[in-house]
Symmetry: C2
Subunit: 231 residues, 2 copies
Amino acid sequence: MSHPNRERADRILDAAGELLLRMGYRKVAVDDIARAVGIGKGTVYLHWRNKELLFQALMMRESADLTDEVLRAIKADPAMILPHRMIPGSFLITHRRPLVMAMLRGNAEMFGSLGDLALHKQQDVLRAQFEETMLRHGLIRADVPNLSYALSASTLGFYLGDTLSHEFEDVPLEEKAAVLAHLIRTAFEPPGEPDPGVVAEVSAVLSSALEELVSSYRNGIYAHDPTRAPG
Amino acid sequence: MSHPNRERADRILDAAGELLLRMGYRKVAVDDIARAVGIGKGTVYLHWRNKELLFQALMMRESADLTDEVLRAIKADPAMILPHRMIPGSFLITHRRPLVMAMLRGNAEMFGSLGDLALHKQQDVLRAQFEETMLRHGLIRADVPNLSYALSASTLGFYLGDTLSHEFEDVPLEEKAAVLAHLIRTAFEPPGEPDPGVVAEVSAVLSSALEELVSSYRNGIYAHDPTRAPG
DNA sequence: GGTTGACCGAAAGTGCGAATCCGGTCAATA
DNA sequence: TATTGACCGGATTCGCACTTTCGGTCAACC
């Protein structure tokens, strides 16, 4: 094997993440990252063609890890796929990842020109599939108008909550998640208990979709390794 | 009467609002406003001690007009006080006022240092009163956790919706309002039809609260007129 | 006495050459 | 042959003098 070793790539991404949080995209020099890892700057370029791809890889890894965490929660308890558990659960998991939070908030000065990373496309596909599956199995009510927008708009405020207004920044995260759970359950789920068989089935479908997403993210991390010939 | 006439003050505020929308707070010179109205710069200072107070008055007037519009809607149909009508209704009314929208979005470059204007205090009082009244009369369910936060967070996303993400900017405003109505009704209101007597009573209470708020705003507009001695 | 616009000073903007930074490369190195 | 860091050049920042803008005042005017 002639291509740069993966463990080193991870150490580079670790350093990049730490520096990104501390100083923001523009003020982090590739040289800083290399020095933090104890390698030469040139070596970094053996892993990614340029700075932007390096940080894209970082965010890919972050997304993969986050998705994996959600996936494990579902494996541990299939009922986690119910919207009123899935959505607040993801909310909590996401909030433990400062890089993802910064990206969601479009933190302009942390991520300079570093675009939307095209992560959204895959996420959008998954979200559409989530909604469709839930609807088909009766786990989301059929009478919600414009479901996609409804879910986005009603969830967005929870994520951006204390970015503006600071009014509720003292409310503990778990309490916010509980509010979100109430909102989702009452506004989007049908009354009554869900059928356990349906839950198991949907859980399986969703797990494999998430697994696919995780590995698609993971592939992306090294997709730009210059020593690998393109497919 | 020796103090500057009110009709002229309104013309000044009209011009200020127009220029504010077109060029933003910093690029609007007091002289521009005066010239647009056809008066001298000094005359503007007969109405407000400085530029900031002028624009605060502008936003006061804007808030008063908006609140008044909501009030008239309630007078026309008392059932408008029901959360699932009041909140989407205010949403629509607010969206027709570009200045208020810009302020809500904290449009930093439109309102330079122009702070939060202390409008929030009065609004917060009203909101608290709204929630308390609704709860007391059973028009909002008692089992919603952290009601204040729940309402804020679930509503916020609708207001900020296409500021970020642009994903749903093609969805017509009326459809967004309909989604919001569904959300509020299912998540915050009890099932079944409300008692018409209760609606009438709450409508009266709320109307007078709104009237008070409107006149408090209106008083604020000229509160800084230097030719008027402070109370 | 209501109104004005010339006037003031602080602050923001402009122009520009010098100095610095930093992404990306590649010949030298181990 | 994997790794490196000196090196290149484009872009950004800095320093600084100069100009312009503009909020706020007030003597003069109607």
